[in-house]
Amino acid sequence: MKRFLLPLGAFILLVVVLIVGLKHAPDKETIKSPLIGKSAPEFNLPKLIDVGQNLDASALRGGWHLVNVWATWCVTCREEHATLLEIQRQGQVPIVGIDWKDEDASALSWLAQLGNPYQVVLADRDGRVAIDFGVYLAPESFLVNPAGIIVEKQYGAMTMDDWQNKFLSHVRSSAPAGSAAPATAAAGA
């Protein structure tokens, strides 16, 4: 009897390891971004709406910003749009949109049709900036703190639940008075 104990123990250990592995397997949506905790990448992009003007990464400093990478060819972005409008309505954190590899005309008609939740929309026509942000599936959203550091990231559509629990907690914990003043750095959308 005793000679079976060791193989049996090894087998049970293996089963436990496999179950834990399966339960905690990171699914492809949740690959942790190596950018969390780092400065938002440098960029200098043309504004979609104010044609002829540019905005660079320094505009993200001085206040909290949500950087949302989207495109009109992205189906999930349409799903997410209502959440972005709600976040804009609450007015705690301005949203900077990066329109990823898109046609300006379709982006403008999208915003006219569905509403514009963005403080400013930047056109990343060749996708260079999206690479620096490590974007691979739109929509992706980055919460950037007043020091310009990325503190949270969302893969796929943001829900109000994600926003309240995952994102706003960062903003709240840093604001002593419990109120995050809307930033004005990227004003002029």
């Binding site: 690959i31 190596p34 999206a130 691979y136």
Partner: protein, 146 residues
Amino acid sequence: MRGAWLVALTALLITLLGASLPALAVDNTPALPTPELQTRYLSLIHEFRCMQCQNEALADSNVGLAADLRLEIHNLLLAGKSDEQVRDYLVARYSEFILFRPRMNLRNAWLWSLPAVLLLVGAAIAVRVMRRRAALPILDDESIDT
């Protein structure tokens, strides 16, 4: 009669195979100026995962992002970056998941060393069993029979 059919079928298959070859050429990135750079480029694009499709290499994917990243690698090589610098560049943005061959580090060292450890454990068990059997009295069939 059967032989003629086989020849015709083989000819058809070869023609179809030939026709499908151009479809395999997903990479429209311009060639690099020197064959040496181009060789490095071709080997690099097989090392990275297409993050959108995940089981394809950058080299094989016709997703837009894969094309962008191939162009990015092309430009980095043109700018004189080493293969390791190109890897670091992509890992810094897309995490180590983009590498088909994960790097060895402290966190996964136990996994890399596991085969060697298991081999040693197996060898130790084998030696113990052999020693124990060697110590048993010899009882072969002939000695019992005679």
